[in-house]
């Protein structure tokens, strides 16, 4: 246990406070990017390529240009300057490195080849349909088999190594040697990507669907070739992102370019089909696993060799080995990776990037090895648990995987499991077999730099601001909670201002790091504002504390009081500010990156969890459903239990999609993502969402700051898919190593009720 101070917060921290922005969302008054309208606003509709590779011979825009309302047709001939990001030195990350319409080469189906701008969306749509693009198509590759040999350009990387995994595996008594595959998945947030670009020379205001207003500002400044201060990015509300909105996509630059050319506000929104084409996806992975153990269940070696597809212009590495080097104790380990190129859009992080598909392979292999050992899969994991990160020798700041597995077993009723395949029937329904599966979960913890401002205003309210945004996870709410915790100002009197790049620089909402990043900055800003309030109390002419030393004053329950007297004897801070004719007591605060803290560098920081899943398998009609989930999460302190639980519930449902439904299908004949709509690309419906029980093992992690919160956006998805396939095996005897589980595979089961 690290030796660092933890703070004891008030009851507002860890409460089940409903999200403060909820009423705006349920009443339809929250403004999302595409909701913004301005006088003279016009609409851009992109034209996308209908070949997966080739060269544009010509683009016939003549018919479109004559259509009513059409103002502009942008192609690579007239798009104007859009720049690439300079290598190194910049602190922004884009998605597709090629700016839209940079050249006449098509590298994937759905790439933007033109955009029509018209007075109305309908006029723009019909004109976009009238654009005729003549291609000189070339051969392309969307093969699902990722067996391509490493090349000089795309070499094999050794990511982690200890001992000798190859010879240890060769001589090990019990082993498994299998390949696991996860398909390309599409993020599919309900809110599609959109940009409303307003050009007011020399300044751009971009209303965006972004998980990072600051990053978006930095990238668009470079892309458009303007100073950063001339770009303001606004994202007040986001209809979720799942990683798909972390980095700018080409439509944003197209909207800005059109606004600059026309000197009118331009709105560009992707449609659902484009969501599958040109705004990222989780890349396909192929992972070869060689695991071995002693007959009594101690791991001997782990080998994890994986590949993921990336697009033609970008090297997007899906970090499948995120958890492999440290999740279990093992003396011999080898982890390698390689990329293969396919004619697809640029991949991008999707909830739990790398770790989630990686853990599908790791935890599936663990389940298979437990079966080979004739050992209970929970016991097997407990036996190989460790409190040291064996990849670097550092202790974990706070690792409670063992308790996750134990509590999960207890809550799920794991001891009642009969390990024999197909042996458990659903009580009261003789047609249905139950399958029970388990998997461990892990996701990295950390935080980046951040600045925040807090103002305690003389009307009795507070304002807290930061250039971050709320993906829909509850960021607004925890901002208010921290200010309220430290000042006693009621939640409904704390105004949270985020989603604007003009605010003090805040973090991207990614990697489950936003909470850990903003908390120290808000806390410090609040404390500094309190100091100003106390100094005011000590100096204001009519103040009851006039002449006292600020050190002897305290701030609780929204009052300034003598430190040795109860808060109820104090004076409301707003009265003191008014006495001094001061508008607000302002404070600034900042967080520095976790890795800049020498104490933190002594530890390995991760969250852990365990997923227990029951499936129902009705072999008579080949029907598979997830019927029960117990998810136990070790994520440090939970700032808000309700939004935290919401995160895990949503992640588990997403995991059911990953396990049983989701796959972006690129057709071999054309290379197009064929199932590019909500009906054909299936995600779970409410009817697919079973009883989900969420438990938090709350050990505040002091290395992550005085609140000890690590963050939980992604951990809830980790481990769900392998727990499903383990449960499916238990029910059917069929081991599914390529997601999603399809009933046609399970129909080979010989298990009968």
């Amino acid at each position: 246990m690290p030796d660092a101070a933890l703070y004891t917060p008030t009851a507002i921290i860890g409460s089940e406070l409903p999200r403060i922005d909820g009423p705006l969302k349920t009443s339809g008054t929250a403004m999302y990017a595409a909701d913004y309208h301005f006088p003279h606003l016009v609409h851009g509709v992109p034209v996308t390529s209908t070949v997966a590779a080739g060269k544009i011979r010509s683009i016939d825009t003549s018919a479109a240009e004559k259509m009513p309302g059409v103002l502009l047709v942008i192609t690579h001939d007239n798009v104007g300057p859009l720049f690439r990001m300079a290598p190194g030195g910049h602190d922004g990350r884009t998605s597709e490195s090629r700016p839209p319409l940079e050249d006449d080469i098509v590298r994937y189906w759905g790439q933007y080849v033109a955009m029509v701008v018209a007075e109305t969306i309908e006029q723009a749509q019909i004109a976009a349909h009238a654009i005729k693009v003549d291609y000189d198509p070339s051969s392309f590759n969307v093969s699902k088999v990722l067996d391509d040999s490493p090349t000089e350009e795309l070499p094999l990387h050794t990511e982690s190594k200890r001992g000798d995994a190859i010879s240890a595996f060769a001589s090990a008594p019990v082993k498994i040697d299998q390949t696991y595959v996860t398909p390309a998945e599409t993020h599919n947030p309900m809110e599609m990507h959109a940009t409303v670009a307003v050009w007011n020379n020399p300044k751009f205001t971009l209303y965006e669907t972004t998980q990072g207003v600051m990053n978006h500002q930095h990238v668009m400044a470079e892309t458009l070739g303007v100073p950063r201060e001339n770009i303001q990015v606004i994202t007040r509300f986001l209809g979720s992102g799942f990683g798909g909105k972390l980095f700018p996509w080409p439509h944003s630059a197209l909207a800005a370019a059109a606004a600059r050319q026309l000197n009118r506000p331009v709105k560009v929104s992707t449609n659902r089909q484009m969501m599958f084409q040109n705004v990222g996806h989780r890349p396909r992975t192929q992972q070869h696993m060689q695991f071995s153990a002693t007959p009594d269940g101690k791991l001997v070696s782990l080998r994890h060799d994986y590949r993921n597809h990336t697009n033609l212009g970008d090297d997007i590495h899906e970090n499948c080995g995120e958890a492999t080097p440290f999740i279990y104790s093992v003396p011999n380990l080898l982890l390698t990776s390689a990329l293969v190129r396919r004619n697809v859009g640029t991949p991008t992080p999707m909830r739990g990037p790398g770790a989630v598909p990686g853990l599908f392979a790791v935890e599936s292999a663990m389940d298979e090895l437990a079966i080979a050992l004739k050992m209970d899969p929970v016991e097997f994991r407990l036996k190989n648990d460790t409190l040291t990160d064996e990849s670097n020798g550092k202790p974990f700041s706070s690792r409670h995987l063992k308790e996750c597995l134990q509590l999960g077993s207890e809550k799920f009723g794991w001891s009642k499991r009969n390990p024999k395949v197909g042996s458990m029937c659903k009580p009261g329904d003789p047609d249905v077999i139950l399958g029970w599966g388990v998997a461990a979960a892990s996701w990295g913890a950390g935080h980046g730099p951040c600045q925040a401002s807090v103002a305690l205003l003389n009307d009795g309210t507070a304002r807290v601001s930061c250039g971050t945004q709320d993906v829909g996870t509850g960021t607004y709410t925890i901002f208010a909670q921290i200010v309220s915790d430290r000042t006693g100002i009621p939640i409904d009197k704390v105004r949270v201002v985020i989603g604007d790049s003009a605010l003090p620089p805040g973090p991207t909402s990614g990697g489950s790091t936003c909470t850990a990043t903003v908390l120290p900055a808000i806390a410090e800003a609040t404390d500094n504002a309190i100091k100003v309030a106390l100094a005011t109390a000590a100096t204001a002419k009519d103040s009851p504390f006039h002449g006292k030393k600020p050190d002897g004053l305290a701030f609780h329950e929204a009052r300034v009081h003598l430190e040795d007297r109860p808060a109820s004897t104090g004076t409301p801070y707003q009265q003191l500010l008014k006495m001094a004719n001061i508008d607000a007591a302002n404070g600034e605060g900042s967080t520095s990156a976790l890795n800049s803290n020498p104490e933190a560098r002594k530890y390995s920081t991760h969250s852990f969890g365990a997923q227990f899943i029951e499936v129902e398998w009705d072999p008579g009609i080949a029907r598979l459903r997830v019927s029960r989930v117990v998810s136990v999460i070790d994520g440090g302190r939970m700032i808000n239990k309700k939004t935290a639980e919401n995160q895990i519930l949503g992640a588990v449902v997403m995991g059911i999609g990953m396990g049983m439904l989701e796959e972006t299908i690129y057709t071999p004949k054309t290379g197009q993502p064929l199932n590019s709509n909500y009906a054909d690309y299936m995600v779970p419906t409410h009817a697919d969402s079973p009883s989900i029980e969420v438990h938090f093992i709350e050990y505040p992690d002091p290395i992550l700051g005085e609140y000890g919160a690590r963050g939980i956006g992604e951990i809830g998805l980790a481990g769900v898919a392998p727990a499903i396939t383990a449960a499916v095996y238990h029910a059917t005897g069929v081991r599914v190593r390529e997601l999603p589980v399809r009933i046609e595979r399970l129909m080979q089961s010989t298990v009968q009720v």
Binding site: H129, A622, Q672, D680, H686, I743
Partner: protein
């Protein structure tokens, strides 16, 4: 979508005469048509809106049957007391389809004309499709065909008929009433749909300008009925296989039975062969199995949908088991 003329006739006669010109389409709930217009798969020059025509009644007939107006919404039909009581298979089928919002819009007449969900049909950029562009070829036969049909296919088209309602209507032997430029006529539902053959763009017997006005459902042979729909997820998905069963059981024997299948045919699929196997036989698993084998005897799977043959059999067997219980 392309621009179109919009007509809003006040009477059925007016609607029929308005829709006689080339390129005209009737629009009811619009849940298929508007989608396909947005996708440029349907490009009507004129839409004739039939929403205000007096076709939204459900009425009991003297013979004990039911007359359902073409404009009766799927939700209203599913929850109609007579339908729930006497035609449970229809109510179950309706409620297994789409989503509540769609069912509130979709109509009886429109559903009879629901078009396939074949992705190659629904995407004008997805390559050849004989249904969309006659004579160009079929991309599904050697493409993505997991969800495609295994019964009634041809070398020109393997697109699945997507409806649930029509499968139940088929088992109930509904009669479709039509009004057109040449007058009125009625067609049994089993004669209404055409197999794709070499003209997959012609899906039914409707002539230009003909409007479905209502459907008559004869008295059911039994209230022992069941609609079973099998799919990957629990809701909002078209059937991989479905079965509608209406069975009259006397003394443990099947007196008579009607079986129709969905999700597997290029049209709602009446399983006469399976019915023949069962008639007069004890309601036992062995006979259900024999019936299922008969129902799928002519099945022709493609590269990715062979599992549907077995799935459809299991579906028929379970639906028979539930209906006859």
């Amino acid at each position: 979508m392309n621009q179109f003329n919009y007509l809003h006739p006040a009477s059925t006669d007016q609607a029929v005469s308005s829709a006689s010109s080339d390129g005209s389409k009737f629009i009811a709930g619009g849940t298929t048509l508007v989608d396909l217009m947005k996708l440029y798969v349907e490009n009507p020059s004129t839409l004739v809106d039939v929403n205000d025509l007096p076709l939204a009644q459900v009425e009991s007939l003297p013979n004990g049957g039911l007359r359902v107006g073409a404009m009766v919404r799927n939700s209203d039909l599913a929850f109609h007391p007579t339908v729930k009581e006497k035609y449970a298979v229809l109510s179950e089928a309706l409620l297994s389809g789409a989503s509540p919002q769609l069912r509130n819009m979709a109509t009886t007449g429109g559903n009879l004309l629901q078009r396939t969900r074949c992705p190659y049909f629904r995407d004008v950029t997805a390559g050849p499709c004989n249904k969309r562009n006659p004579g160009t070829g079929c991309s599904a036969i050697d493409g993505f065909n997991r969800t495609m049909a295994i019964l009634g296919t041809s070398d020109h088209c393997i697109a699945t008929h997507p409806s649930d309602m029509d499968v139940a209507m088929t088992a109930l032997e509904a009669l479709i009433f039509i009004e057109g430029p040449k007058g009125k006529r009625s067609v049994p539902i089993n004669d209404f749909y055409k197999l794709p053959g070499d003209t997959p763009h012609i899906e039914n017997v409707l002539e230009p300008g003909e409007l479905i006005t209502h459907v008559e459902i004869p008295p059911a042979i039994s209230t022992k009925q069941h609609y079973l729909k099998l799919r990957d997820r629990a809701s909002y998905e078209f059937a991989l296989a479905s079965a509608a069963v209406v069975a009259r059981v006397e003394g443990g024997h099947i007196h008579s039975v009607r079986i129709a299948m969905g999700g597997v045919g290029t049209r709602p699929w009446r399983a006469h062969e399976a019915e023949a196997v069962l008639t007069g036989k004890p309601a036992t698993p062995a006979h259900f199995q024999a019936a299922a084998e008969a129902a799928l005897r002519g099945a022709k799977p493609h590269t990715e949908n062979a599992f549907k043959v077995e799935l459809a059999k299991r579906c028929v067997i379970r639906a028979l088991k539930v209906a006859t219980a």
